[in-house]
Symmetry: C2
Amino acid sequence: MEIKNAVTALAALAQESRLDIFRLLVRAGTEGIAAGQIAQSLALAPATLSFHLNQLRGAGLIAMRRDGRSLIYSADYTAMNALLAYLTEECCQGAPDACGLALCDGASLVTPRKGSRA
Amino acid sequence: MEIKNAVTALAALAQESRLDIFRLLVRAGTEGIAAGQIAQSLALAPATLSFHLNQLRGAGLIAMRRDGRSLIYSADYTAMNALLAYLTEECCQGAPDACGLALCDGASLVTPRKGSRA
DNA sequence: TTGATATTTCTAGAATCATGGAAATCAAAA
DNA sequence: TTTTGATTTCCATGATTCTAGAAATATCAA
């Protein structure tokens, strides 16, 4: 991941409505949620929601698919993982106990996604 | 963690210079780095660096201590972990294979450790 | 077709943010 | 106590972002 992508992703998440939206989608899983339902869940004006969904999409954090009249949005877990990995890269070098992050013990934060896990 | 804290932290990281600074400190470990050295490493004007360090500090992502004439900055791993945990909370419910994140297997992203104030 | 529903694009003003020069502060050394 | 060094605060300017009304677009149902 390049820094510009990371900044774009972080900026996308650095807004209350968008963070709410993203976390809603993260919880929802790969099935996703229709825009209308998101708007209802979070009490957002349609235009406002659309703007925020676009930001998240532009940042590569969520995906969209159409289902009839509805547009279904879902979290992109691969992108999320890449972002987390970028943030924690080479963390607390020389003092693995310091950070308390699983990653720091030499384990991988992101398990290779071939259906297997470390 | 409350959403406002998360947004503040994400906003702090959503800027190229600040993300560079933070990752530098994450790599550096608990020992930290003096402001002057950061400025030199990243080729930032003193006033600009100071502004960004303040943002990161206000977001609770980094700590500061004085050593002689120098101010030493270091990453706050506890805060970082809290942010990561917030982002991945209850992720991909019902389809643990989908997200590829260690957390999703029921494991904890953050290993509890003594002295942790999260 | 026509009508209803779901969602997006366009737009513009208000609010927030980044940059860096100059001056100020704080700690150490002479 | 004067000077040097490290860093911060102040400030103005330019750039970016958020919000939501109104109009446009896309899909389905009758």
